[in-house]
Each structure stands twice: as C-alpha cells, then as structure tokens.
Amino acid sequence: PLINTISGVVKLCIVESVMLEMQDPKTGVKSQPQRLVITTIPHAITGEDIVAWLTNRYSIEAEEAWALGTMLVAFGYIYPLQDHKRLVIKPDASLYRFQTPYFWPAQQWPVEDTDYAIYLAKRNIRKKGILALYEQVQYNSLHKWMNHKWDFIVMQAKEQYRAGKERKKPDRVVFDCQERAYWVVHRPPPGTVSAMDYGLERMVLKSIILHSLQHSSCFLCLFSLFSSLVKYSVTYNKHDPFLAPCLPSNPWVTDDVTYWFLNMANVGIPTKMRVERWTFSFGELLSDPRGRDDFRLFLKKEFSGENLAFWEACEDLKWGTAATMNDKAQQVYKTFLTRGAPRWINIDGKTMEVTVKGLKHPHRYVLDAAQTHIFMLMKKVSFTTLILQALLCPSWRPMRGSVDPASVPSSSASWSRRREPGWPPVALWTSHRS
C-alpha cells in the first residue's frame, strides 16, 4: 500500500531516468567501440562497467547491482551483443548496448502480433527462407489466424526491408540487432524464461527504492510516502498484536486458544475488531476470507456477483500453476469476457480490446488490466455502498453481527452499537480516503 501511492507515471519515469543517467558522457557508463569484421560500431559497454556504475551510483552491493542490471537486460532496456538469447548481465568483458527508446517496454504500447508477423517476414527475406524452428512455427500460426492481413504484412515487410537498406552499413547492423533483441524479450525462444512472465511492475520496485533515496527531486515522493506511513500506523495501531493487547488473550502467552477460534476463516460470527479491519480498505475486506464471503452475499443481493467471481478467477490465474494457465484463461474468456457470456463483466472498450488481444498469448498477468478495472469498480461502487449503508442505516446489518471479544460472544452486537458519540472511525476513514 505504501508503494501504491506513487503513480504509474512516476514509476516508469524512474527506470527511464536511470537509463538517461547512464548516458552522461562524464558520469555515465564508459563506452567503447565494437570492432567487427568490416566495420566498427561505437557505444558498446561491458557488463562489468554496468555493474560497477550501478554499485557506485546507488551505493549498493555488487549482487544487488547485478540483479538490477539483469532486470534492465531482461526487460529490454539494454541488450547483449554476444549470446543474444540469454538476457542476463555477465559481470565481465561481455558487451552490451543500449536499446533505442522506441523499443523500450511500455505498458501503454502493447506488443502487436502484426508487428511480429512483419518482423518474421523480414527475417524470412534476410535468411532466404531458413528461419529457426520456433520462428517457423510462429510464422505459420500467424499466417493462419492473421490471414486477412497477410497481403499487408508482406507488403510492409518488403518496404521496411528496402527502407532499412537505405542506411549505412554500421547503422543497418545496429538496427537488425535492436529489432532482434526486442523480439527476444517479447517473443522469447522456447526454453528461456521471459521477464514478461513476471510483469513490468515488479521490476520497478527495486529501482524506485534506490533512485528515490538518492535523487533529491523526489522529496515530494518521500513526503507522501511518509505521510501515508503515519496514516497507516495510526489506523492499524489497535490491530497490531505487538502494540495493543490481543483479546481475550494472546494464545502464545496464556495457552488459551479462544482467540484463534474466534478468528477462524469460516467462523459464523466475526469479531468486532475483524469487522472494523474490513472497513479500513477494500483490500482488507477481500483478503480476509470471511469478509470476502460476506461481500459475496452482499453482491449477490446487488446482482453484481460476477465482478467478484472474475476477480477471484484472475487471482487464480496469477497464482496457479503454469500448466493450467491456458485452460484457465480460456475458461475466463468464455465465462466473463466474450459477448453473450453467462457472467459478462462490464469493462470499458479499450481494456476489453487489450485483454482480448493479450488472451491470444496468455500469460500470468494477461488479465491484470481488467482485474484492476473490476477491482476499482467494486471498490468505488459496491464497497462504498456497503460502508454507507452500514453507517446510514443502523438497523441494517450487512454482515451477520459482530462479536466483542472482550465480553461473552453475543450475536446481537452490531456496528452501530459499538459507536461512540461523534463521528465513527469508519466515516472518518472513508471520507479521508476520498
């Protein structure tokens, strides 16, 4: 929740500013020319220089610098000149080069199959019909399902090939290497691990922490981080078993397991503390299985149960085994996304387009965009309705009562009775959030 306060724009800007800093002729990474048989191409950098630069710039250990460097290579910001299929940083004299901004990974520019088909056709021309086996397989499959566009693909491939030949030899070599590197990242050869399996967002965490600690202009970032940390501490203070006493008693201390029984996942009546925790954020409600059950019942009454079902299916896909991914993705498509589906979810046209396109090559995070949309929809609509109804209608009980663990469990206790005179903490929290 702390990291989420930084917007997506700032996240990606940080990785790119790391790249820009590396270009500085005085303080950046030292480059050297790469000597090939006929020509010499400048701006080659060694793996050890990259790792050394990262170590010095961010005052981190060599292993962390190596991990960060590998991430830069795995996502395609830097590409190796030798052994182009292995996307790792070798901290020795192996050569790398920076990728051109057009080929940097970006979530707002999804990787198009049309472009891949054009690339394979160009490669076919260059290799005079002799493609690698996996490329041949991809080519045939694309030819089959993109058949209506095939004339365009052939025409465009030929023209791009001819336009490429207009450039001087060294630039031509560089361009071919760049393009090949881009497609190794986004359409990895079989048997290699793709960073795209892990998603672009994951990589950014390390770079954010490193960069924002150093860069003075991220003071605003730090301030917002700090204030959200304070807010977090104030809210969760009473729920932290180290800071506030655990009621009725801490089982580890007194050997009395009542606390655990009261807080089981499938308990009939949840405790007051637990219910209060659900009001802190939508994420809390969903991550508690008992809360999720109650929310599911609530949604059933509101006739929007398919949203939660979709969200759960997305989680299942994200955390499931790789072998079942394809089947699960197909199942989700049939049940939720296709027109006339039994549990059709309402997402906007652009997200739907992106998701359906992504489902042609399903991976773990293909449904991320749609899942986020549905999550925000549930949060803004259903969750807020739930909270407001609980506040404004004291007699209305969205959850089946709550238990005060300090006294004998009583089924008649409800949220409203727990309230002190004045603003209830729930209202304060939700109004503050919005």
Binding site: E16, M19, L20, Q23, P25, S31, Q34, L36, I38, T39, P42, H43, A44, Q82, H84, R97, F98, Q99, T100, P101, Y102, W109, E112, T114, A121, N124, I125, R126, K128, G129, Y139, N147, H148, K149, W150, D151, F152, V154, M155, Q156, A157, K158, E159, Q160, Y161, R162, A163, K165, E166, R167, K168, P170, D171, R172, V173, V174, F175, D176, C177, R180
Partner: protein
C-alpha cells in the same frame, strides 16, 4: 479496373511512406537524432497524410458504388483492409513519435540522447519516402519543440478520420482473403543484392577459434595452388620456347 490500378499505386506509395516513417521514428531519442531527423519526420508524416486522404477518397468512392460485381467488391475490400492496416501502423507511430519527441528535446544540454550505436543520418530513408533524390532542410532550429503541437493536432485528425471511415464503410476485415501465400515475401526480393548477406551475418555470434583455424588452412591451400600455377606457367613457357625454337 482502372480504378483498382490507380488505387494499388496509391496504396503502394502509402505503404512505402509508412515503412520509412517507422524507420525514422525508431531513430528518435538515439544518437542518430538531430534537427534534420525531426524535419524528416515532419515532412514524411505530412506526405503520409496526403496519401491517406487521397486513398480514402478513392476507396470510399469505389466501395460506395453498389453496381460493382462481387469479384470487384471483394478486391476493393481487400484494398480497404490494406489501407486501414497501413493507417493503424501510421497512427501508432505518430503517437509514439510524439511521446519520444517530448521525452528527448534536442536543445537541453542535460538531456542526453541514448547511445544506441547508430550515428549515421537518416536522410536517404526520408528521401525514399518523399521520392526525391536529396532532401532539402529549411526548418527553424527549434523544430524539435515547435513541431510537437502540430503533431498532436494531426494525431487527433487521423484518429477522427479513422473513426469516420469505420462508420461510413462497412467492411468486415476478417472476411477478406489474402492473395499472398506464406513465404510470398521471398519472391522478387531474392534479386536484392547479395552483398548485404555478409554484413548481416556479423550480427550473429561466430566463435573466434573456428574462423582463425579456417583462415590458416585457407591460406596454406592458396599458397600451394599459386605455386603450382606458377610452376605450370613456367613449364608451358619452356616447352613453348623449345617448340618455337626447335
């Protein structure tokens, strides 16, 4: 059928300009970036839009005609799919060039261009797009920032044009059957220079040991062959001398 030939020529031109534009956008932000590149992008883009409008008018005219035969109609729909695919590519590239152009202003000294290894100019690519021999550069020195507003307006225009097209012309793209089969790109480009093969194979890794050994062997064989050749010439000369002399 004169209509389709004219259309095909115009589509070929649009296709060529789109391909060149993509090459130019790929050079943005790298060490090949320069004021000239920005001007080349602007000119290529304007040419592409002119061709797009001309193509759209011609194709909508052909498709609106209800009296065309089924075969002709199928052909026009195929051309329409070619046209819309080109336009999609062009639109994406225009948006990307705006984004990268904004991220990499040329005049700011603290903003470094990415050292991609590309250092040559793109003038020949632009000349190919504009169908001229040499490009003339006459823009102001602040084109890298001044052009961006125009680009934004043009992107909106192109977007609107594509929406209008979708509304007016009801063509189902997936119903179109392509004329080219798999591997069609190999025909008619096989004659394109063999000299390029040597350059491109540099990009692949070649283990150094193999090359050196092979080189040595080749050298030995060449020497022996040369020696034998010279010996044969000498013997032929001697025999000839005897034949003529004797």
């Amino acid at each position: 059928m004169g209509g389709t030939d004219e259309c095909k020529t115009m589509l070929d031109a649009l296709n060529k300009v789109t391909a060149c534009y993509r090459h130019l956008v790929i050079a943005l932000g790298s060490t090949s970036d320069s004021q000239n590149l920005r001007e080349e992008l602007k000119k290529t883009r304007k040419k592409a839009q002119e061709l797009a409008v001309a193509n759209r008018n011609k194709l909508t005219e052909l498709l609106k005609d209800k009296t065309t035969s089924k075969d002709d109609r199928a052909e026009y729909e195929r051309l329409w799919v070619l046209f819309t695919s080109s336009m999609e590519l062009l639109e994406v590239d225009m948006k990307r060039s705006l984004e990268i152009g904004q991220e990499f202003p040329l005049k700011v000294p603290t903003r470094h261009l990415i050292q991609t290894g590309m250092t040559g100019s793109t003038t020949t690519v632009a000349a190919r797009a504009m169908s001229v021999q040499n490009m003339k550069y006459d823009a102001d020195s602040n084109i890298d920032t001044a052009d961006l507003k125009e680009l934004q307006a043009e992107i909106t225009q192109v977007g609107q044009m594509m929406e209008e097209m979708e509304m007016k012309v009801q063509v189902a793209p997936w119903a179109v059957e392509a004329k080219q089969e798999a591997g069609a790109e190999l025909k008619s480009t096989l004659s394109v220079g063999n000299s390029s093969v040597g350059v491109i194979s540099i990009c692949e890794e070649e283990p150094k040991d193999e090359i050196d050994e092979g080189g040595d062997n080749n050298g030995m064989i060449t020497c022996i062959a040369g020696f034998i050749f010279v010996a044969i010439v000498v013997i032929a000369g001697i025999l000839g001398y005897f034949v003529i002399g004797g």
